[in-house]
Structures are given as C-alpha cells and as structure tokens.
Amino acid sequence: MKDWPLFEIFIRSKNGLNHKHVGSLHASDAPMAIQNARDVYTRRNEGVSIWVVEATYITASNPDEKEALFDPAHDKIYRHPTFYKLPDELKHM
C-alpha cells in the first residue's frame, strides 16, 4: 500500500486569532485530512476553522543555519524602544 501523505494541521481557535499549528496526521487527500483533523484536534470545540497543508509543501529552515539566520538580530539593540534615552517626565511615548 502506498503511504498516505502527511498533513500538517492548523486550527483557528476563534475568529480574530491566527491559525496555529497543532500537529499532523496522514490522510489520502486534503478533504480527508480536514475530516480527520476535525475528529482528532477539535473534539472539545477547540476550533472554528482548519487549515491542512501537505507536509512536503512546507520548506523549513535548516537548524544548522540557526546562527546565520538569527544571530544578526542580537546586536541590533536600536530596534528596541529602550535604546532611546528620554526624560522621565515625558508621557505617552
């Protein structure tokens, strides 16, 4: 038997919030993945909307490249409001 593809499942718990990754499951196609995700991940009313994405379509960053990708942000302290020294009496900023 040909293995069913793996789907990554994203649930929106309520309108206004982002869909959030909750886990994955195998299904023969996308409609079945939605059915199964409904049964697996929303049995207690956890959601109002489901996205399923075949896992092969997700390109992930390489953990070995973590430093190259994320370290450059470390020393950019001027991207944070606390970098700018302003008088205490200044309000609403």
């Binding site: 309108n15 001027y78 991207r79 970098f83 020294k85 008088p87």
Partner: protein, 316 residues
Amino acid sequence: MEQINSLEQRFQSIIDKDEKIEARDWMPDAYRKTLIRQISQHAHSEIVGMLPEGNWITRAPSLKRKLALLAKVQDEAGHGLYLYSATETLGISRSDMLDQLHSGKAKYSSIFNYPTLSWADIGAIGWLVDGAAIMNQVPLCRCSYGPYARAMVRVCKEESFHQRQGYEILLTLCQGTAEQKEMAQDALNRWWWPSLMMFGPGDADSPHSAQSIAWKIKRFSNDELRQRFVDMTIPQANILGISVPDPLLKYNELTQHYDFGPIDWDEFWSVVNGNGPCNKERLEARVKAHEQGAWVRDAATAYASKVEMKVSISAA
C-alpha cells in the same frame, strides 16, 4: 433577497458582539470594498513613507543615527508587506494594487508629499508623523476584520521605537547650539499642520466615517483622534522647549483639552489631489523602483522554473 438579509444579519451580529470577520466569512460588498481601499492605502503609505526618510540615510550625522534610521525605514517596508498581504485576503492581487498606486488612482497618506529639508525633519517625522500614525493604528488593532487587526498588532509593536528615535533626535538638537535648536523649531513649524491633517477631514466632512464606525473598522472619529494627538503632543513639545506654530493654541480648563486653530483644508485637498511639493517626485520614485526591479523578479522566476525542470527531469 431573504438569504442576503439573513447573511447581513449574521454579519452584523458578529460585528455587534465584537467578534472578528475572517477572510472566508461572508461580508457585504461595501465592507469588502471599504477595507480594500483603506488597507491598500495604508500599505501604500508605508511604502511611499520610506522615501522622505530614505533621503537622509546616507547623510545621518552619526553611525548610531544611521543604524536607527535604517532600521526604522526597514520596518516600514515590512509594514507595507503585512498590509498588502492582509489586503490580498480580500481578493485583490498585489499587482493590481501596485498598478493603482503607480497610475495615481490609489492614494497614500498625503504627509509624505512634503520634503525633508534638514536632519531635524527626521526627528520631527519620527515624533509627529509616526506619533500620529500610532494614534490611528492602535485602535485598528481591534478592527473587525481579523487579518487587518492582526497585521496592526505586529505593526504597533514595531512602531514603538520609531517615535522615540525621532523624539531623541529632536531632544539632542534642542540641547545643542542655538542653531541646532532653531533647526528643530523650523522642522516643527513645517510638520505640525500636515501632521494634524493626517487624521483626515473633520467629522462633518467625512461621509464614510459613520459606516466605518458601525462596521467597527474605525473605533474613533477623525476629530477625536486629532484632539487626543494634540493633547499628548503639546506637553512633549514643552519638554523640548519648542512650540507649535499655532497662535490660537490654548489649554481649555473647561474641556480639559487644548483648543487649536483652524486647519487649512484647502492645502490638504490640494496635496491629496496631486499638487503637494513632492507628489510627482514620490510617484516617479516608486514607478522607477518598480520598473528597475523588473529584471530581479524575472531572474527569480526564471531560476525557480529552471530548478523545477531539473527536479522533474531527475524524477523521471
């Protein structure tokens, strides 16, 4: 017809309960159109807004200032991206939006049609223009349309340093030589009124406002937000030791608000309609950037299809 009615009722009841409308939900055409216009205009403003500040990146007075300004302008590009993406969820394509901007059909915030003449202008923009934008944007985090609201949460978080970096620039100038302080005052003179205009026409002259408030796209009227901005900003100007160019400005003990002089709406409409000092230059800069970037987009597309071809050959 009955079906439309019940759809409308359901839609309005979601809004009334302060819940969110999401991309796949049914919504009235006018709601969709209003959002497309508002969010795409907002996106265009973030993108065009990079131009006046970009003018000073190479001439910032120190490495520290250059890094901060670069980081800020980079943020604004990101804001444009979040907002274009949010607009796309409503069914308009990115290229249609860009066409509308480039052809002059779409508007952007008219403050970006003023020139940045001195380094102090960069301080004034951060303090006043980003300050006014934040005043507008914070209530938009609760906008009834989910994708817009979520984009605004991200934007507001990132905005938090923009205003402070601008204010710090002016504070430094105001503590410097008399000439530097004069530069700060001159920037305030030129940016004050256009900043007040950023909130849009007065309530009596903004016909769409009531509907936008009923749909909870807007939470406060233009005049309310403008008043709040004035009330917050005047004490900040006092700390700098410079004053806004308004002889009628006065604290009103009765209302506990600052009264201020009339806004020159003729100037506002003239700039909106294309006759500001830099309208032409801004649009030309955007069109040129887009056209000159065409080869990069083409090269990326060509590379992607080449890789795809290789994969399908090796799979065969």
